[in-house]
Symmetry: C2
Subunit: 147 residues, 2 copies
Amino acid sequence: MATKGILSKGKQKEMKSAGLRMTGQRALILDIISQRPGHLAADEVYSLARQRQPGISLSTVYRNLQALKKLGLIKELHFDDSHHHYEVKPSIEHHHLVCQGCGKVVEFGCELSQKMMQEIARKKGFKVTGVEVHMTGYCAECQRRQE
Amino acid sequence: MATKGILSKGKQKEMKSAGLRMTGQRALILDIISQRPGHLAADEVYSLARQRQPGISLSTVYRNLQALKKLGLIKELHFDDSHHHYEVKPSIEHHHLVCQGCGKVVEFGCELSQKMMQEIARKKGFKVTGVEVHMTGYCAECQRRQE
DNA sequence: ATGGCTGCAAAAGTTTTGCACTTCT
DNA sequence: AGAAGTGCAAAACTTTTGCAGCCAT
């Protein structure tokens, strides 16, 4: 099984203590999401996975996306679509800017979001575990096209 | 038809020029969303609508949610659920903080988000039309319960 | 060996669509 | 008349679940 290199030793222990196993399918899914820049929808993960392991089932993809999410290895995003998107959890928080003209998604980092997080946590008495900033607009090309 | 008071004169004109009509069902749906603080899922709008107009159909609710969204009168939110939520478009931008323990949703205002919007617009060459900040965490009560 | 994992098929849940009919302008 | 809206039923889509057998630890 080609699981080596995908998970750090620490993460492997974490999985074990959660009673989870690293199977071929799980490693494959994690690998697919890791290698793609950006974010994939469940069915995109599925079709990419089938290219490498034709027998894999869609339920397995969904179950593993849930498992990896719960483990904190991947992040689930909610765009305007009706379905979810997934990406590896980045070490540095980043956010998304979606073009309403062409659907392009641009990632951006922002220190302000950390400040915002602390401010709200204090004000509302919450222990904040995550921030997701989602902007919509029109990219440079789409603006030009509209004129 | 009890449409008066729900839409400003300006908004009525806006609808007209978009080729839209203000029907009883549309006014009802807009009224329901306006009166509720917070955010409703489509099926909640549906069941509230049926209390006042038993014959209304679910498709009408969905079609009108789309229409009102396109018009910019309501806003579609994407939480972790599999379905969408709707709220009236507020005059002052506000965001959402969801408790992972009990599901409670707290709204908050934040000037930083405006600053962030301008910064990103400049950096990325986008014309930004909207920002949505979504935080997750644990509320004060759920934190206490966990200890 | 035992408890998690998989594939398959079926189910569940949300949202969309086709169609004939009605309603507004 | 012509365009938009509605209700109903059916369809489309994404996601979840039950189950029997399989596999990692």
